[in-house]
Subunit: 229 residues, 2 copies
DNA sequence: CGTGCGCTTGACTTTTTTCAATAAAGGTGG
DNA sequence: CCACCTTTATTGAAAAAAGTCAAGCGCACG
Protein backbone atom coordinates (compact mmCIF):
# COMPACT_ATOMS: atom_id res chain seq x y z
CA UNK A 1 0.00 0.00 0.00
CA UNK A 2 1.11 3.52 -0.80
CA UNK A 3 0.52 4.85 2.70
CA UNK A 4 3.06 2.58 4.29
CA UNK A 5 5.58 3.59 1.71
CA UNK A 6 5.11 7.21 2.65
CA UNK A 7 5.42 6.50 6.33
CA UNK A 8 8.59 4.53 5.79
CA UNK A 9 10.11 7.56 4.13
CA UNK A 10 9.77 9.71 7.25
CA UNK A 11 13.14 10.06 9.02
CA UNK A 12 11.49 9.86 12.44
CA UNK A 13 10.33 6.35 11.60
CA UNK A 14 13.52 5.17 9.99
CA UNK A 15 14.75 1.69 10.70
CA UNK A 16 11.57 0.29 12.21
CA UNK A 17 10.06 -3.14 11.69
CA UNK A 18 7.40 -3.66 9.10
CA UNK A 19 4.80 -4.21 11.76
CA UNK A 20 5.39 -0.73 13.11
CA UNK A 21 4.62 0.77 9.77
CA UNK A 22 1.38 -1.18 9.66
CA UNK A 23 0.37 0.10 13.04
CA UNK A 24 1.33 3.66 12.26
CA UNK A 25 -0.65 3.42 9.05
CA UNK A 26 -3.67 2.44 11.10
CA UNK A 27 -3.63 5.50 13.28
CA UNK A 28 -2.53 8.13 10.78
CA UNK A 29 -4.73 10.85 9.33
CA UNK A 30 -3.90 12.75 6.19
CA UNK A 31 -4.47 16.49 6.37
CA UNK A 32 -4.03 19.40 4.02
CA UNK A 33 -3.66 23.03 5.05
CA UNK A 34 -3.95 26.05 2.83
CA UNK A 35 -1.40 28.83 2.84
CA UNK A 36 -1.91 30.97 5.91
CA UNK A 37 -4.09 28.39 7.62
CA UNK A 38 -3.57 27.74 11.31
CA UNK A 39 -2.51 24.19 12.12
CA UNK A 40 -2.72 24.64 15.83
CA UNK A 41 -2.72 27.56 18.21
CA UNK A 42 -0.74 28.06 21.37
CA UNK A 43 -2.81 26.84 24.30
CA UNK A 44 -4.75 24.41 22.14
CA UNK A 45 -5.12 20.98 23.61
CA UNK A 46 -2.22 18.86 22.36
CA UNK A 47 -4.23 16.01 20.91
CA UNK A 48 -1.49 14.74 18.67
CA UNK A 49 1.39 15.71 16.42
CA UNK A 50 2.03 16.21 12.72
CA UNK A 51 4.69 15.19 10.27
CA UNK A 52 5.06 17.51 7.30
CA UNK A 53 4.95 15.72 3.96
CA UNK A 54 5.08 18.69 1.62
CA UNK A 55 5.00 22.43 2.02
CA UNK A 56 6.34 24.45 4.92
CA UNK A 57 5.11 25.34 8.38
CA UNK A 58 6.19 28.06 10.77
CA UNK A 59 6.02 27.53 14.50
CA UNK A 60 5.94 30.77 16.43
CA UNK A 61 5.11 32.70 19.56
CA UNK A 62 3.02 35.84 19.57
CA UNK A 63 3.31 38.67 22.07
CA UNK A 64 0.22 40.46 23.37
CA UNK A 65 1.26 43.50 21.31
CA UNK A 66 1.35 41.39 18.19
CA UNK A 67 5.06 40.91 17.71
CA UNK A 68 5.92 37.48 16.43
CA UNK A 69 8.94 35.29 17.09
CA UNK A 70 9.37 32.34 14.79
CA UNK A 71 10.86 29.38 16.66
CA UNK A 72 11.47 27.29 13.60
CA UNK A 73 10.33 26.65 10.06
CA UNK A 74 9.60 23.03 9.32
CA UNK A 75 9.79 21.32 5.96
CA UNK A 76 9.05 17.83 4.61
CA UNK A 77 9.93 14.98 6.94
CA UNK A 78 9.92 17.04 10.10
CA UNK A 79 7.56 16.44 13.01
CA UNK A 80 5.78 19.31 14.74
CA UNK A 81 3.86 19.47 17.98
CA UNK A 82 5.47 16.37 19.52
CA UNK A 83 6.31 18.24 22.70
CA UNK A 84 2.67 18.41 23.70
CA UNK A 85 2.37 14.67 23.15
CA UNK A 86 4.94 13.79 25.75
CA UNK A 87 4.20 16.41 28.34
CA UNK A 88 0.46 15.85 28.03
CA UNK A 89 -0.10 19.58 28.18
CA UNK A 90 -1.05 22.28 25.75
CA UNK A 91 0.97 23.37 22.74
CA UNK A 92 3.71 25.77 23.77
CA UNK A 93 3.48 27.69 20.47
CA UNK A 94 1.35 28.16 17.38
CA UNK A 95 1.78 26.66 13.92
CA UNK A 96 0.72 28.01 10.57
CA UNK A 97 1.19 26.80 6.99
CA UNK A 98 3.47 29.09 4.97
CA UNK A 99 2.21 27.51 1.78
CA UNK A 100 -0.13 24.69 0.90
CA UNK A 101 1.00 21.89 3.17
CA UNK A 102 0.20 18.24 3.47
CA UNK A 103 0.86 16.53 6.79
CA UNK A 104 0.22 13.28 8.57
CA UNK A 105 -1.49 13.58 11.90
CA UNK A 106 -0.91 11.06 14.68
CA UNK A 107 -3.32 11.19 17.59
CA UNK A 108 -1.68 11.39 20.98
CA UNK A 109 -3.44 8.54 22.67
CA UNK A 110 -2.98 6.05 19.88
CA UNK A 111 0.62 7.00 19.37
CA UNK A 112 1.40 6.67 23.05
CA UNK A 113 -0.19 3.22 23.11
CA UNK A 114 1.95 2.27 20.21
CA UNK A 115 5.15 3.60 21.70
CA UNK A 116 4.44 1.95 25.03
CA UNK A 117 3.88 -1.37 23.40
CA UNK A 118 7.17 -1.14 21.63
CA UNK A 119 9.38 1.62 22.95
CA UNK A 120 12.00 1.22 20.26
CA UNK A 121 9.98 3.83 18.45
CA UNK A 122 11.07 6.20 21.17
CA UNK A 123 14.71 6.11 20.24
CA UNK A 124 14.33 8.04 17.02
CA UNK A 125 12.11 10.47 18.83
CA UNK A 126 14.83 11.10 21.37
CA UNK A 127 17.23 12.02 18.63
CA UNK A 128 14.69 14.39 17.11
CA UNK A 129 13.97 16.13 20.38
CA UNK A 130 17.66 16.44 21.17
CA UNK A 131 18.27 17.95 17.80
CA UNK A 132 15.54 20.45 18.41
CA UNK A 133 16.92 21.35 21.83
CA UNK A 134 20.20 22.06 20.16
CA UNK A 135 18.54 24.37 17.68
CA UNK A 136 16.74 26.20 20.44
CA UNK A 137 19.99 26.66 22.32
CA UNK A 138 21.44 28.24 19.23
CA UNK A 139 18.43 30.52 18.89
CA UNK A 140 18.70 31.61 22.51
CA UNK A 141 22.38 32.29 21.98
CA UNK A 142 21.63 34.39 18.93
CA UNK A 143 18.88 36.39 20.58
CA UNK A 144 20.78 37.07 23.75
CA UNK A 145 24.41 37.21 22.78
CA UNK A 146 24.40 38.62 19.27
CA UNK A 147 22.93 41.76 17.90
CA UNK A 148 20.85 41.79 14.78
CA UNK A 149 23.67 42.15 12.21
CA UNK A 150 25.35 39.12 13.73
CA UNK A 151 22.19 37.07 13.59
CA UNK A 152 21.56 38.02 10.01
CA UNK A 153 25.14 37.23 9.03
CA UNK A 154 24.89 33.82 10.68
CA UNK A 155 21.66 33.17 8.83
CA UNK A 156 23.09 34.14 5.46
CA UNK A 157 26.09 31.91 6.03
CA UNK A 158 23.75 29.10 6.96
CA UNK A 159 21.89 29.57 3.69
CA UNK A 160 25.18 29.55 1.84
CA UNK A 161 26.40 26.33 3.41
CA UNK A 162 27.23 23.53 1.07
CA UNK A 163 27.37 25.69 -2.02
CA UNK A 164 31.01 26.57 -2.05
CA UNK A 165 31.09 27.53 -5.69
CA UNK A 166 27.97 29.64 -5.93
CA UNK A 167 27.78 32.73 -3.81
CA UNK A 168 24.13 33.33 -4.46
CA UNK A 169 21.57 32.36 -1.88
CA UNK A 170 17.79 32.33 -2.00
CA UNK A 171 15.63 33.43 0.90
CA UNK A 172 12.86 30.90 1.20
CA UNK A 173 10.70 33.29 3.15
CA UNK A 174 9.62 36.91 2.71
CA UNK A 175 11.68 39.49 4.54
CA UNK A 176 9.06 40.26 7.14
CA UNK A 177 9.09 36.59 8.11
CA UNK A 178 12.86 36.61 8.15
CA UNK A 179 12.74 39.54 10.55
CA UNK A 180 10.48 37.53 12.81
CA UNK A 181 12.82 34.57 12.61
CA UNK A 182 15.77 36.76 13.59
CA UNK A 183 13.90 38.32 16.48
CA UNK A 184 13.57 41.79 15.04
CA UNK A 185 11.22 43.84 12.84
CA UNK A 186 11.20 44.42 9.07
CA UNK A 187 12.47 48.00 9.31
CA UNK A 188 15.55 47.01 11.25
CA UNK A 189 16.26 44.13 8.92
CA UNK A 190 15.91 46.36 5.91
CA UNK A 191 18.35 48.89 7.32
CA UNK A 192 20.95 46.29 8.11
CA UNK A 193 20.64 44.72 4.71
CA UNK A 194 21.25 48.18 3.26
CA UNK A 195 24.34 48.63 5.43
CA UNK A 196 25.72 45.26 4.39
CA UNK A 197 25.25 46.28 0.79
CA UNK A 198 26.96 49.63 1.36
CA UNK A 199 29.93 47.86 2.88
CA UNK A 200 30.17 45.56 -0.11
CA UNK A 201 29.49 42.42 1.88
CA UNK A 202 26.37 41.40 0.01
CA UNK A 203 24.52 42.39 -3.11
CA UNK A 204 20.81 42.14 -3.55
CA UNK A 205 19.93 40.47 -6.84
CA UNK A 206 16.20 39.90 -6.80
CA UNK A 207 13.69 40.37 -3.99
CA UNK A 208 14.73 37.01 -2.63
CA UNK A 209 18.14 36.55 -4.15
CA UNK A 210 21.22 37.72 -2.34
CA UNK A 211 24.80 37.42 -3.44
CA UNK A 212 27.39 36.86 -0.73
CA UNK A 213 30.37 38.92 -1.79
CA UNK A 214 32.44 38.64 1.37
CA UNK A 215 31.97 35.47 3.36
CA UNK A 216 34.81 36.31 5.70
CA UNK A 217 33.14 39.60 6.49
CA UNK A 218 29.95 37.77 7.33
CA UNK A 219 31.80 35.37 9.59
CA UNK A 220 33.38 38.24 11.47
CA UNK A 221 29.99 39.83 11.92
CA UNK A 222 28.47 36.58 13.10
CA UNK A 223 31.16 36.12 15.71
CA UNK A 224 31.04 39.70 16.87
CA UNK A 225 34.61 40.57 15.87
CA UNK A 226 33.37 43.12 13.42
CA UNK A 227 30.75 45.82 13.61
CA UNK A 228 28.89 47.76 10.99
CA UNK A 229 29.66 51.45 10.63
CA UNK B 1 22.66 -1.37 48.59
CA UNK B 2 22.51 2.35 49.13
CA UNK B 3 23.37 3.21 45.54
CA UNK B 4 20.28 1.59 44.10
CA UNK B 5 18.16 3.44 46.56
CA UNK B 6 19.58 6.73 45.37
CA UNK B 7 19.06 5.86 41.74
CA UNK B 8 15.47 4.88 42.40
CA UNK B 9 14.85 8.31 43.81
CA UNK B 10 15.73 10.07 40.55
CA UNK B 11 12.58 11.20 38.72
CA UNK B 12 14.08 10.31 35.36
CA UNK B 13 14.25 6.68 36.45
CA UNK B 14 10.87 6.53 38.09
CA UNK B 15 8.73 3.49 37.59
CA UNK B 16 11.40 1.18 36.22
CA UNK B 17 11.90 -2.49 37.00
CA UNK B 18 14.33 -3.53 39.67
CA UNK B 19 16.68 -4.95 37.09
CA UNK B 20 17.07 -1.54 35.50
CA UNK B 21 18.24 -0.09 38.73
CA UNK B 22 20.81 -2.82 39.01
CA UNK B 23 22.11 -2.11 35.56
CA UNK B 24 22.16 1.61 36.09
CA UNK B 25 24.03 1.07 39.31
CA UNK B 26 26.65 -0.84 37.37
CA UNK B 27 27.44 1.97 34.98
CA UNK B 28 27.11 4.95 37.28
CA UNK B 29 29.97 7.08 38.55
CA UNK B 30 29.71 9.33 41.57
CA UNK B 31 31.28 12.75 41.13
CA UNK B 32 31.66 15.83 43.28
CA UNK B 33 32.29 19.34 42.00
CA UNK B 34 33.39 22.32 44.01
CA UNK B 35 31.68 25.67 43.79
CA UNK B 36 32.75 27.37 40.59
CA UNK B 37 34.13 24.20 39.09
CA UNK B 38 33.43 23.46 35.45
CA UNK B 39 31.44 20.29 34.86
CA UNK B 40 31.75 20.41 31.12
CA UNK B 41 32.52 23.05 28.55
CA UNK B 42 30.74 23.84 25.34
CA UNK B 43 32.37 21.92 22.53
CA UNK B 44 33.59 19.22 24.86
CA UNK B 45 33.00 15.72 23.64
CA UNK B 46 29.67 14.55 25.00
CA UNK B 47 30.83 11.35 26.66
CA UNK B 48 27.85 11.04 28.96
CA UNK B 49 25.37 12.90 31.09
CA UNK B 50 24.90 13.82 34.74
CA UNK B 51 22.08 13.73 37.22
CA UNK B 52 22.37 16.26 40.02
CA UNK B 53 22.02 14.74 43.49
CA UNK B 54 22.71 17.78 45.61
CA UNK B 55 23.79 21.32 44.96
CA UNK B 56 23.03 23.44 41.92
CA UNK B 57 24.44 23.72 38.42
CA UNK B 58 24.13 26.46 35.83
CA UNK B 59 24.14 25.64 32.15
CA UNK B 60 25.09 28.60 30.02
CA UNK B 61 26.37 30.02 26.76
CA UNK B 62 29.23 32.47 26.57
CA UNK B 63 29.71 35.08 23.87
CA UNK B 64 33.17 35.87 22.50
CA UNK B 65 33.02 39.22 24.34
CA UNK B 66 32.37 37.43 27.59
CA UNK B 67 28.68 38.01 28.07
CA UNK B 68 26.92 35.03 29.57
CA UNK B 69 23.41 33.72 29.03
CA UNK B 70 22.21 31.14 31.51
CA UNK B 71 19.96 28.59 29.83
CA UNK B 72 18.84 26.94 33.01
CA UNK B 73 19.77 26.27 36.59
CA UNK B 74 19.49 22.64 37.58
CA UNK B 75 18.85 21.29 41.04
CA UNK B 76 18.63 17.85 42.65
CA UNK B 77 17.01 15.17 40.51
CA UNK B 78 17.54 16.93 37.21
CA UNK B 79 19.64 15.52 34.38
CA UNK B 80 22.12 17.66 32.47
CA UNK B 81 23.99 17.09 29.26
CA UNK B 82 21.59 14.44 27.91
CA UNK B 83 21.26 16.24 24.60
CA UNK B 84 24.81 15.36 23.64
CA UNK B 85 24.09 11.72 24.45
CA UNK B 86 21.35 11.39 21.86
CA UNK B 87 22.77 13.54 19.11
CA UNK B 88 26.21 12.01 19.53
CA UNK B 89 27.76 15.43 19.12
CA UNK B 90 29.43 17.92 21.38
CA UNK B 91 27.80 19.72 24.28
CA UNK B 92 25.81 22.70 23.07
CA UNK B 93 26.58 24.70 26.21
CA UNK B 94 28.80 24.79 29.30
CA UNK B 95 27.98 23.70 32.83
CA UNK B 96 29.38 24.93 36.12
CA UNK B 97 28.62 24.16 39.75
CA UNK B 98 27.06 27.10 41.59
CA UNK B 99 27.87 25.45 44.90
CA UNK B 100 29.36 22.17 45.99
CA UNK B 101 27.50 19.63 43.90
CA UNK B 102 27.29 15.89 43.86
CA UNK B 103 26.16 14.21 40.66
CA UNK B 104 25.88 10.80 39.11
CA UNK B 105 27.58 10.39 35.79
CA UNK B 106 26.31 7.94 33.18
CA UNK B 107 28.64 7.22 30.29
CA UNK B 108 27.08 7.62 26.88
CA UNK B 109 28.00 4.28 25.40
CA UNK B 110 26.90 2.22 28.36
CA UNK B 111 23.69 4.15 28.77
CA UNK B 112 22.83 3.79 25.12
CA UNK B 113 23.42 0.05 25.30
CA UNK B 114 21.12 -0.10 28.24
CA UNK B 115 18.41 1.95 26.63
CA UNK B 116 18.59 -0.07 23.44
CA UNK B 117 18.24 -3.31 25.29
CA UNK B 118 15.16 -2.06 27.01
CA UNK B 119 13.78 1.09 25.52
CA UNK B 120 11.18 1.62 28.20
CA UNK B 121 13.85 3.74 29.81
CA UNK B 122 13.41 6.07 26.89
CA UNK B 123 9.89 7.06 27.80
CA UNK B 124 10.84 9.00 30.87
CA UNK B 125 13.62 10.60 28.93
CA UNK B 126 11.16 11.78 26.31
CA UNK B 127 9.12 13.49 28.97
CA UNK B 128 12.22 15.19 30.35
CA UNK B 129 13.35 16.44 26.96
CA UNK B 130 9.87 17.68 26.13
CA UNK B 131 9.72 19.52 29.38
CA UNK B 132 13.01 21.15 28.61
CA UNK B 133 11.90 22.15 25.15
CA UNK B 134 8.95 23.83 26.73
CA UNK B 135 11.20 25.78 29.07
CA UNK B 136 13.40 26.85 26.21
CA UNK B 137 10.38 28.05 24.27
CA UNK B 138 9.45 30.17 27.24
CA UNK B 139 12.97 31.56 27.45
CA UNK B 140 12.96 32.44 23.76
CA UNK B 141 9.63 34.13 24.21
CA UNK B 142 10.95 36.13 27.12
CA UNK B 143 14.11 37.20 25.36
CA UNK B 144 12.46 38.17 22.14
CA UNK B 145 8.99 39.33 23.06
CA UNK B 146 9.42 40.92 26.48
CA UNK B 147 11.72 43.63 27.62
CA UNK B 148 13.77 43.31 30.76
CA UNK B 149 11.18 44.62 33.26
CA UNK B 150 8.70 42.07 31.91
CA UNK B 151 11.18 39.24 32.24
CA UNK B 152 12.07 40.23 35.75
CA UNK B 153 8.42 40.52 36.74
CA UNK B 154 7.72 37.06 35.33
CA UNK B 155 10.63 35.68 37.27
CA UNK B 156 9.55 37.24 40.54
CA UNK B 157 6.06 35.87 40.09
CA UNK B 158 7.52 32.47 39.40
CA UNK B 159 9.44 32.65 42.66
CA UNK B 160 6.29 33.65 44.46
CA UNK B 161 4.22 30.79 43.08
CA UNK B 162 2.66 28.48 45.60
CA UNK B 163 3.13 30.80 48.52
CA UNK B 164 -0.14 32.66 48.41
CA UNK B 165 0.06 33.87 51.93
CA UNK B 166 3.63 35.03 52.11
CA UNK B 167 4.67 37.81 49.79
CA UNK B 168 8.35 37.42 50.46
CA UNK B 169 10.54 35.60 47.98
CA UNK B 170 14.16 34.55 48.16
CA UNK B 171 16.54 34.82 45.24
CA UNK B 172 18.50 31.62 45.14
CA UNK B 173 21.23 33.18 43.07
CA UNK B 174 23.28 36.37 43.30
CA UNK B 175 22.00 39.30 41.28
CA UNK B 176 24.72 39.15 38.70
CA UNK B 177 23.71 35.59 37.94
CA UNK B 178 20.08 36.63 37.83
CA UNK B 179 20.98 39.24 35.24
CA UNK B 180 22.59 36.55 33.14
CA UNK B 181 19.52 34.36 33.52
CA UNK B 182 17.27 37.18 32.35
CA UNK B 183 19.48 37.98 29.40
CA UNK B 184 20.77 41.32 30.62
CA UNK B 185 23.62 42.81 32.68
CA UNK B 186 23.82 43.60 36.39
CA UNK B 187 23.60 47.38 35.89
CA UNK B 188 20.34 47.13 33.98
CA UNK B 189 18.86 44.72 36.49
CA UNK B 190 19.84 46.98 39.35
CA UNK B 191 18.18 49.97 37.76
CA UNK B 192 14.95 48.14 37.09
CA UNK B 193 14.83 46.77 40.60
CA UNK B 194 15.18 50.35 41.80
CA UNK B 195 12.33 51.48 39.57
CA UNK B 196 10.09 48.71 40.81
CA UNK B 197 10.84 49.80 44.35
CA UNK B 198 10.11 53.44 43.52
CA UNK B 199 6.75 52.45 42.09
CA UNK B 200 5.90 50.52 45.20
CA UNK B 201 5.68 47.18 43.43
CA UNK B 202 8.40 45.48 45.43
CA UNK B 203 10.46 46.14 48.48
CA UNK B 204 13.96 44.92 49.00
CA UNK B 205 14.37 43.29 52.40
CA UNK B 206 17.79 41.71 52.44
CA UNK B 207 20.33 41.26 49.65
CA UNK B 208 18.38 38.23 48.51
CA UNK B 209 14.98 38.84 50.03
CA UNK B 210 12.33 40.69 48.10
CA UNK B 211 8.82 41.46 49.17
CA UNK B 212 6.17 41.45 46.46
CA UNK B 213 3.87 44.32 47.34
CA UNK B 214 1.81 44.40 44.17
CA UNK B 215 1.37 41.09 42.40
CA UNK B 216 -1.14 42.52 39.97
CA UNK B 217 1.37 45.16 38.98
CA UNK B 218 3.93 42.46 38.33
CA UNK B 219 1.48 40.52 36.21
CA UNK B 220 0.75 43.57 34.13
CA UNK B 221 4.44 44.14 33.61
CA UNK B 222 5.01 40.51 32.68
CA UNK B 223 2.28 40.62 30.07
CA UNK B 224 3.37 43.97 28.70
CA UNK B 225 0.18 45.83 29.57
CA UNK B 226 2.07 48.12 31.83
CA UNK B 227 5.33 49.98 31.50
CA UNK B 228 7.69 51.50 34.01
CA UNK B 229 7.93 55.27 34.10
C1' DC C 1 42.07 45.94 58.87
C1' DG C 2 42.58 46.02 54.25
C1' DT C 3 41.32 43.70 49.75
C1' DG C 4 38.03 42.14 46.69
C1' DC C 5 33.79 41.22 44.89
C1' DG C 6 29.02 42.17 44.38
C1' DC C 7 25.97 45.76 43.94
C1' DT C 8 24.40 50.40 42.88
C1' DT C 9 24.22 54.88 40.55
C1' DG C 10 25.31 58.50 37.09
C1' DA C 11 26.49 60.17 32.57
C1' DC C 12 26.90 58.86 28.00
C1' DT C 13 26.65 55.81 23.71
C1' DT C 14 24.81 52.43 20.92
C1' DT C 15 21.26 49.61 19.25
C1' DT C 16 16.73 48.92 18.25
C1' DT C 17 12.02 50.26 17.90
C1' DT C 18 8.26 53.40 16.71
C1' DC C 19 5.75 56.27 13.69
C1' DA C 20 4.94 57.91 9.30
C1' DA C 21 5.42 58.26 4.48
C1' DT C 22 6.64 56.34 0.17
C1' DA C 23 8.01 52.88 -3.14
C1' DA C 24 8.03 48.43 -5.11
C1' DA C 25 5.98 43.72 -6.00
C1' DG C 26 2.47 40.42 -6.69
C1' DG C 27 -1.95 38.94 -7.77
C1' DT C 28 -6.78 39.67 -9.75
C1' DG C 29 -10.20 40.89 -12.81
C1' DG C 30 -11.34 43.48 -16.65
C1' DC D 1 -1.69 42.91 -20.97
C1' DC D 2 -2.79 46.49 -18.13
C1' DA D 3 -4.93 48.97 -14.25
C1' DC D 4 -5.82 48.43 -9.60
C1' DC D 5 -5.32 47.02 -5.05
C1' DT D 6 -3.19 44.73 -1.36
C1' DT D 7 0.79 43.24 0.66
C1' DT D 8 5.66 43.70 1.29
C1' DA D 9 9.76 46.48 1.53
C1' DT D 10 12.48 50.71 2.19
C1' DT D 11 13.80 55.17 4.26
C1' DG D 12 13.86 59.16 7.52
C1' DA D 13 13.43 61.31 11.92
C1' DA D 14 12.64 60.79 16.71
C1' DA D 15 12.10 58.07 20.95
C1' DA D 16 13.01 54.36 23.90
C1' DA D 17 15.51 50.57 25.75
C1' DA D 18 19.61 48.56 26.95
C1' DG D 19 24.58 48.57 27.23
C1' DT D 20 29.24 50.74 28.34
C1' DC D 21 32.35 53.12 31.20
C1' DA D 22 33.53 54.87 35.47
C1' DA D 23 33.09 55.77 40.26
C1' DG D 24 31.72 54.65 44.83
C1' DC D 25 29.64 51.91 48.59
C1' DG D 26 29.33 47.96 51.75
C1' DC D 27 30.03 43.62 53.35
C1' DA D 28 32.45 39.24 53.69
C1' DC D 29 36.79 36.93 54.06
C1' DG D 30 41.30 36.27 54.75
Amino acid sequence: MKLIHQIARIPLFQGLDRKHYDRLAMIVTDRVFQKGETIFGEEDEGTGFYVVLSGRVKVFKLSPEGKEQILHIFGPGEPIGEVAVFTGRRFPASAEALEETRAFFFARKEFMDLIRRDPSLALNMLAVLSQRLRRFSALIENLSLKEVPGRLAAYLLYLGEGKEGKSEVTLEIPKNQLASLLGTIPETLSRILAKLTREGIIKSIGPRQIQLLDRKGLEELASGERKLA
